[in-house]
């Protein structure tokens, strides 16, 4: 069962890469996320699984589809068909190397089992509090980035001649 889920995950990721239509890529990515979430559930990582489904398969897919829709009117870029031939070769080579390396490492990793106590809430809020500060920081960064990039205004290019040394007649400062 575990193997089936893993193969499903990899298969849908490959489909997302090779698919020539952007929307199909985004949907394949979402399905791959669902497989990943199922894998997480089976490994007792319930919270991570829920997060994966709701955020990656949900929010990120919505972001992708919004971006695809916003950039659709101009002509799309389709990939060349040769990827359908090159990729299987590449993947086969990768899989072979992977198998050989894993075989070599079999049994060489020492077992070091730790113990863990507490509930998930305790671990998240008590032990990883600094992570939460970081998450707040990165969310600020993302929100401010989107605000900055979508502000209405003129563009500032590097080489526009501004003779006279004064900063510009180019814009309207209503300040």
């Amino acid at each position: 069962m575990h193997l089936f889920l893993m193969i499903g995950l990899v298969a849908f990721s490959i489909l997302a890469v090779l698919s020539r239509d952007l929307l199909r890529s985004a949907i394949s990515l979402a399905v791959a996320s669902v497989f990943l979430a199922l894998i997480f559930f089976r490994m007792n990582a319930v919270y991570a699984g829920v997060f994966e489904v709701s955020v990656v398969a949900g929010l990120i897919t919505v972001l992708f589809i919004t971006a695809i829709a916003l950039t659709r009117s101009e002509g799309g870029v389709t990939e060349s068909k040769r990827h359908l031939f090159i990729f299987p070769l590449f993947f086969a080579a990768l899989a072979v190397i992977d198998l050989l390396v894993m075989k070599k490492l079999l049994g060489r990793i020492p077992a070091m089992v730790s113990s863990e106590s507490g509930t998930f809430g305790q671990v998240l809020w008590n032990q990883r509090t600094f992570d939460l500060v970081g998450q707040i920081g990165v969310i600020f960064a993302g929100v401010l980035a989107v605000l900055a990039l979508f502000r209405p205004g003129r563009s500032h290019t590097g080489d526009a001649p501004l003779a006279g040394g004064q900063s510009d007649a180019k814009g309207d400062h209503h300040e």
Partner: protein, 493 residues
């Protein structure tokens, strides 16, 4: 409280978009500059005595209730905090005038503050995963700042930077995941102890290689340097100064050295790789800078070259080499920011970045020309300015470690550096005044103030370098010299 270094910028960043609606210019300028000054004073006066007896682990408090955040402050962290605060203060002063014609100043200051909070968090953490997390905070803020002008050049540069940087972060995280699988923990102490009892060299070597690739890309070491010559010139000048002067050092060199020296332990293989990559970076950067016409692109390639010196110094591994590397890191932050800020002043006054079109600007912009001359001489290694001493230390360390070939190459690199900076100075500032620039004026007050401050620091650091080494660099070098024992002290943490 050490936690202030992270929480104050974040708080102000959250308030600025609201404040920006009330007062578009004055209040954001004032608050941002005051915050940077506060952080700078904090790092010098208050935090420095804390580490007098070695590293400190401090628990953070939030209105009296203890939070479970323990921050690590030792010589190396404090040294980086000081560098970050100093450069950000100068950059904030400069931005008061420069960012006028970009608009949305409150948003800009907010992003800058988030980036600084991320960098401060990175140097204060004691956990591998937190290094990755705060690295990403600073990186996301920097993607937006590079693209801030919304012009096609900037957007393209930011996109390429984002792609490469995201791959680097993924490599770093993959390495952290593998180490987590091998040792069962991610904090420095657990990992250091786990790795000493392990016996699989290849997997640990693979993790080191992933870290080298990831942090190396953030630090723009050859062969991972290709994003820097595109990203740094297109960004607004104060952001170029922040990126070249601080970000590549904090997220690249600091993180790499912290992980390699205090957690993994330096091995001969690492020494060889770092010294070789350092020397290659010196030459690739210097030779590419020679042929450049765009002033900021030349400075960007020069950054690659000088970071090569820093990595070379660290790679040697001896105490003198580490001190040389740290000193050059600080000096490069000073003079590269100075040079980028000056390039921005020139670009704003003349409207162009290409050296062919400039000429004789010293007659119209004397202050900018003077500070730029100080910066160029410092970076080229002319005594008694600061660059000379740091390069000398690195070269002496190379000779002491019997790496004579590398020492000769380092000296050659310095000669090439001198050459292209002389070209830059001559083409931009000296020579005959181009008729187009007859009506050009000197840079506005705050921009000049920032560059004069940095130039004075270059001169002063060069003159009193023994004091600088003893009081700031030695504690940092000691921390790095102690190796894994630093991390081992944090077990059970």
């Amino acid at each position: 409280m050490i936690f202030l270094f992270i929480i104050v910028p974040l708080l102000l960043a959250s308030l600025l978009p609201l404040l920006g609606k009330i007062s578009k210019r004055f209040l954001p300028d004032l608050l941002a500059s005051a915050t940077m000054l506060f952080l700078l004073v904090l790092s010098v006066l208050w935090a420095k005595p804390l580490i007098a007896s070695g590293g400190v682990i401090q628990q953070a408090f939030w209105f009296g209730a203890p939070l479970n955040i323990r921050l690590l402050l030792d010589g190396f962290s404090l040294f980086m905090l000081f560098t970050i605060s100093l450069i950000s203060f100068a950059v904030t002063l400069y931005s008061i005038n420069y960012m006028e014609h970009y608009g949305a100043k409150a948003n800009y200051y907010a992003l800058l503050l988030v980036m600084i909070a991320g960098m401060n968090g990175l140097v204060l953490c004691s956990d591998l995963f937190n290094i990755y997390l705060f690295l990403e905070v600073a990186a996301v803020a920097s993607y937006a700042l590079v693209a801030f002008g919304q012009g096609p050049d900037e957007l393209e540069a930011s996109f390429k930077y984002l792609m490469l940087s995201a791959v680097a972060s993924a490599f770093i995280l993959l390495s952290i995941a593998i180490i987590f699988g091998l040792t069962g923990g991610v904090s420095f102490g657990t990992v250091a102890q786990g790795l000493t009892t392990l016996n699989i060299k290849y997997v640990v070597g693979f993790c080191s290689a992933l870290f080298l690739a990831g942090f190396g890309l953030k630090a723009a070491i050859v062969p991972f340097h290709s994003w820097l010559p595109d990203a740094h010139p297109s960004a607004p000048a104060p952001i170029s100064a922040m990126l070249s002067g601080v970000l590549i050092k904090v997220s690249g060199v600091y993180a790499m050295m912290r992980v390699f020296l205090n957690v993994f332990g330096m091995t001969p293989a690492l020494t060889t790789v770092l010294t070789v990559l350092g020397v290659v970076s010196i030459f690739v950067g210097a030779l590419a800078a020679l042929g450049q016409n765009d002033i900021k692109r030349m400075l960007a390639y020069s950054s690659i070259s000088q970071i090569g010196y820093v990595v070379l110094g660290f790679g040697i591994g001896t105490p003198l080499g580490i001190i040389g590397g740290l000193f050059h890191l600080f000096n490069h932050a000073l003079f590269k920011s100075l040079l980028f800020l000056n390039a921005g002043a020139v670009e704003q006054s003349t409207g162009t970045r290409s050296l062919d079109k400039m000429g004789g600007l010293a007659k119209r912009m004397p202050l900018t020309a003077a500070t730029s001359a100080v910066g160029s001489l410092a970076i080229a290694g002319i005594p008694p300015l600061n660059g000379f001493w740091s390069k000398l230390l690195i070269i002496i360390a190379l000779v002491q470690a019997k790496m004579y070939v590398l020492a000769v190459l380092a000296v050659l690199g310095s000669v090439v550096t001198l050459w292209y900076y002389l070209v830059l100075q001559h083409q931009a500032f000296f020579g005959k005044l181009n008729e187009n620039w007859q009506a050009v004026r000197e840079a506005p007050f705050w921009m000049s103030a920032a560059t004069v401050l940095l130039a004075l620091l270059c001169i002063v650091t060069g003159l009193v370098f023994p004091f600088v080494i003893h009081s700031w660099l030695q504690p940092a070098a000691d921390v790095l010299g102690k190796g894994i024992t630093v991390a081992m002290n944090f077990i059970g943490f």
